[in-house]
Symmetry: C2
Subunit: 83 residues, 2 copies
């Protein structure tokens, strides 16, 4: 069965966030009352698995082997059956 | 009042998606049964506004003036009161 897993990768609090800081500065220069910007990345992966539990396990393994840097990143995983 | 707006920017269908294609290829090389990967970016912006409607309007304006390329990007906006 096919599943769509969504892996959202964000910076851990306290880690340098140059893209967010630059974006915040640009928005302020454009006149917006912005206090802070955080930037995260979302991977939507369509994969083959025998169950939702297996799809979630595969997403965990993809995260730790490729998509996430455990030193600086937090991440969340959600799984849905592929329509 | 402070609001947290979330702007998710993804590529329109049919547009070249080199980061997703590279990620998919690497995951397949690692042994995963992956069909496709889409990569999108999420901006979480904390801003000052007088109402939720105004916060959403500001997020629309930020998107069109800085964060989104209308030729190739789709985007969604959600707004929450800042805890």
């Amino acid at each position: 069965m096919k599943y769509a897993v969504k892996i959202e990768v964000s910076l851990k609090p306290g880690h340098s966030n140059p893209e967010g800081e630059t974006t915040a500065r640009l928005l302020v220069e454009l006149g917006f009352s912005v206090e802070a910007v955080e930037v995260s990345k979302v991977y939507k992966v369509v994969l083959e698995a025998s169950s939702m539990v297996e799809a979630e396990q595969k997403a965990q393994e993809m995260s730790s082997r490729l998509l996430v840097n455990p030193t600086k990143d937090d991440y969340t995983i959600s799984v849905a059956e592929r329509k």
